[in-house]
Symmetry: C2
Subunit: 189 residues, 2 copies
DNA sequence: ACCTGAACACCGTTCAAGT
DNA sequence: ACCTGAACACCGTTCAAGT
């Protein structure tokens, strides 16, 4: 005798993401997720293999949302690639502030967690496009990697509270962005 | 009636660090640590308040070791700050490869974990010294932050396996290092 | 076909009882 | 003064039994 579905994978992942932000990684328990979606813990195993699988789904959903944000920030169609780059990294930074725990999850995935290559590609595509305009086709990859490394490092240091003096952070951000654009632009010696 | 001490805080932290690297964050259990030092789990609470406290001690010990490594790399007394900077970041990179789990712990600390400011300061002092030589006193802080952000971001991307093509990583590293040195050096326009 | 309670192994932590 | 077994609450996961 069929039973009506009382929840869905989408709802489960959404609950898990919210829980991750509100209660941290260790607060993301199967029981807490189940309670949020109005079901008992064992029922989750109908849609999800185990907790690790759910965490991977949370990471992927977060990565995809980050990609969409960055993509949206890149479609303003600027003339100046520096302005575009500034908007890209600001979009990522805003996202990291909204979902710090999720951002950390995709920044420093655990031993096992493997991010979906397709999601990674989608998230980096806009950066590559702008990097090509700034640094030229021959150096796209190196330039994009340098830029991405700085941006993710800056944001993670910010999240970790590595900067003690609040007001200075914004200046360090502007400084780094400006210097990097100079260093990566085509006519760089 | 006194009982002879069967272990020590130092031994416990060392066991916890090894366990973190070999079994990951979730493998770092009180029981596993206790077993390693030849004691039962409840005995650990004589030296450590709880698991979170132990994790914080692990993070601090790791940060201090990283600081010592970076400091050692900085004391070659070069003339060229660019070479010194290259050695600094290579030291950090080597360390991250030896202790990836520990590195991730100090890079992206959990919600609660607070790193000891003194340890953070000791680890960043060498970077500040070299940054001052490269970028000048007025811009030390901004330069050091830009450089540190790039280095930590690069290493964490490397650890996360964000670079798919092995051979290219070294070139991207050299590229970034070279471009950053150019961008941060005193005569930068 | 989905949901559940019961059960199992495991974990962190406390505490009274041992030496 | 340190160590331990027993106990408790909690967690992930499985599974037979319900509908």
């Amino acid at each position: 005798m069929p039973t009506p579905e009382r929840t869905s994978l989408e709802e489960i992942v959404r609950a898990a993401r919210d829980l991750l932000e509100s209660s941290g990684h260790e607060g993301l328990t199967m029981q807490a997720v189940a309670h949020r979606v109005g079901v008992r813990a064992p029922s989750l195993y109908k849609r999800v293999r185990n907790r690790g699988d759910l965490v991977a789904l949370v990471a992927d959903a977060t990565l995809r949302e980050l990609g969409a944000r960055v993509e949206a920030a890149a479609t303003h169609a600027d003339d100046d690639p520096r302005l575009a780059l500034a908007r890209l990294v600001r979009a990522g930074r805003d996202f990291a502030r909204e979902r710090p725990a999720g951002f950390r999850l995709i920044l420093a995935p655990g031993t096992d967690l493997r991010l979906d290559p397709a999601s990674l590609e989608a998230a980096s595509a806009p950066v590559l496009r702008v990097a090509a305009r700034l640094a030229g086709e021959e150096r796209v990859l190196d330039a994009a990697r340098t830029f991405t490394a700085w941006a993710t490092g800056f944001v993670s240091m910010e999240l970790a509270g590595a900067f003690r003096l609040g007001g200075e952070v914004e200046r360090a951000f502007e400084f780094g962005l400006d210097r990097l654009c100079h260093a990566l632009a085509i006519p760089a010696s």
